[in-house]
């Protein structure tokens, strides 16, 4: 549904079989950015703020 909304020209078969998940997520990501929605990477190690938080947690652990 999200991918179909992001790229209306894609067919059901394209979405289900011919577009990789990586491409699908990227297209949804791009659509949301165009719509003005700020996005973040979900895993801590993927973003500067997340890495900073991981470092703090490591320091507190020792």
């Amino acid at each position: 549904m999200l991918l179909s909304a992001a790229v209306p020209s894609l067919t059901k078969a394209d979405i289900e079989w011919r577009i990789s998940l990586a491409q699908g997520y990227a297209l949804i990501h791009a659509r949301r950015i165009y719509d003005g929605q700020p996005m973040v990477w979900p895993r801590l190690e993927q973003s500067p703020l997340g890495r900073w938080w991981q470092q703090i947690r490591e320091k507190l652990r020792h």
Partner: protein
């Protein structure tokens, strides 16, 4: 007289941009990634292949994820499924979509025919790369300042 349309607003996450380059580089690589096994280009790891993979994994339950990830036999068993699903075309998979046991047999046959015993590690590495690439571009909406996270993609 007609007014000029307002220019589109471009939202850029400035605070995160410079240090996110590594993540974005991986995302770019994942977007363009094309995988092959024995010189044959694999089909994209698509939504339906991911669903079939999950369905096949469900047949093995109950096996906790921690056991599955630490046991080499299970890792190879899963890798075989990923590579088999990416080797088969939608025309080959569609007729048996609703028959999980036939799908499982098909992936196992493929594994026996195409993965030699010495190639186990290579198969696991490739399957891991495929799964990692499929997650590398997945971003979520930034949680709101009030603390309630909005659903991601």
């Amino acid at each position: 007289m007609q007014d000029d349309p307002l220019p589109p607003t471009l939202v850029v996450d400035d605070s995160a941009a410079p240090a996110s380059t590594a993540t974005e580089g991986k995302a770019n690589e994942a977007y363009d990634a094309v995988f092959s096994w024995h010189g044959n280009q694999l089909e994209p790891y698509s939504l339906m292949r991911d669903r079939i993979f999950e369905r096949l994994q469900a047949l093995d339950s109950p096996v906790p994820d921690t056991v599955r990830q630490d046991c080499p036999q299970f890792v190879l068993y899963d890798a075989e499924k990923v590579l088999a699903l990416c080797s088969l075309t939608e025309q080959q998979l569609l007729p048996i979509m609703g028959k999980p046991l036939e799908l499982l047999k098909l992936t196992q046959q493929w594994g026996q025919q195409h993965i030699a015993s010495a190639e186990g590690m290579a198969a696991i590495r490739l399957a891991n790369a495929i799964i990692k690439a499929s997650e590398a571009t997945r971003a979520i909406e930034r949680p709101s300042r009030s603390g309630s996270a909005t659903p991601g993609n």
